[in-house]
Symmetry: C2
Subunit: 209 residues, 2 copies
């Protein structure tokens, strides 16, 4: 598994001419880092003097950010697998009409999976943008910039993951499914730019930048 | 060293209540991933049929992106060390006026280092935004989204690293130095949002999103 490699080995693999890990995995790792930073803000707040009133709220945020932090590395791995499935289907024989039909069916099924995984990565990143806001508002003031880094990274990685959704979507022939995915993208991204800006405004105010 | 840990162990450390690694290191890792993706686009282009005319240009981009990809993990480690130095200075005795003066001098020196490291991280991320543009323009069309992910991640991590510059700057008393850093930030960030948008426009056009 790529996530069991050291950070430097993972970066070597990402830079190599092998197609996996690629952009989807990079987005998942960035999202996981963002989730980890939101968790860190919570961990630096819970049990700290002066933050008793927000302890329960921060504990709730932590539970959510940790679930996403642990899920995103699994999605990083899944992204490399679904890409492999598309390549496998692409290489199927296409001599006879039956071959062609079987290959096309395999391609379409693989492309759906290859769209669903980065769509889930984008959704989790969007959830981290939302969690960064209360973390910045209520969390330990000394760690507010970490909530800011989390929001910046998560919002960028949401858009990054969506690029991989669009690529696969452009080859999917089921128009109803494609329209459905576009509606889901709309729901995932809506307001996230504004939320990130709100987080940044709080961070700037608290750090005096 | 944190970068010798596995990806999952690094994320555990990032999420923990230990202050390091923190947001600066998260920004450095995101920037390194962005650099790796620009390198991947180059590696998927160099030697490929149909891309003979851009081979030299892509080789030049690769040399630059790889230098940055290998430097950013070192800056990730450096960021954890300079934070430690600030904390060390903070804990120095402050009983006598001599103590206080020595502590203040140590603090100011440590804060400068703690501003310089994320400033260099931001500068390297900005350079990756610039390299993502020719990579998207000339690189293997099949990998164009990876250049897009690189640009998104690098631009976000540039801003993320700068948050850590501002935090330390707000405690630095040398106004000339602070003004100098602000001018350097201006030079680093100028036009990078536009460059990222140019990359995204190319990516959207090429993937038909």
């Amino acid at each position: 598994m790529f996530i069991e490699k050291s950070v430097t080995e993972f970066l070597d693999a990402l830079a190599s001419k092998e197609s996996v890990p690629g952009g989807g995995s990079g987005a998942a790792l960035g999202g996981a880092s963002a989730a980890a930073l939101v968790s860190m803000v919570c961990n630096l707040t819970i049990g700290k003097k002066g933050y008793e009133d927000v302890e329960q709220a921060m504990t709730d945020i932590l539970q959510k950010s940790e679930a996403i932090r642990l899920e995103l590395p699994q999605l990083l791995e899944a992204d490399t697998r679904v890409y492999g499935k598309v390549m496998e289907a692409y290489r199927l024989p296409r001599k006879t009409p039956e071959d062609k039909a079987a290959r096309e069916a395999a391609m379409q099924a693989a492309l759906r999976d290859a769209a669903e995984v980065p769509l889930t990565i984008a959704e989790r990143c969007a959830q981290i943008v939302d969690l960064a806001l209360p973390a910045a508002q209520m969390g330990n003031q000394w760690a507010v910039s970490d909530a800011g880094v989390g929001a910046l990274l998560a919002e960028a990685c949401m858009h990054a993951a969506l690029l991989n959704v669009y690529i696969n979507l452009s080859s999917i022939k089921d128009e109803q499914y494609a329209a459905d995915v576009c509606a889901r993208i709309q729901a995932i991204t809506e307001g996230k730019g504004d939320t990130k800006e709100q987080v940044m405004a709080i961070v700037r105010e608290k750090i005096g930048a």
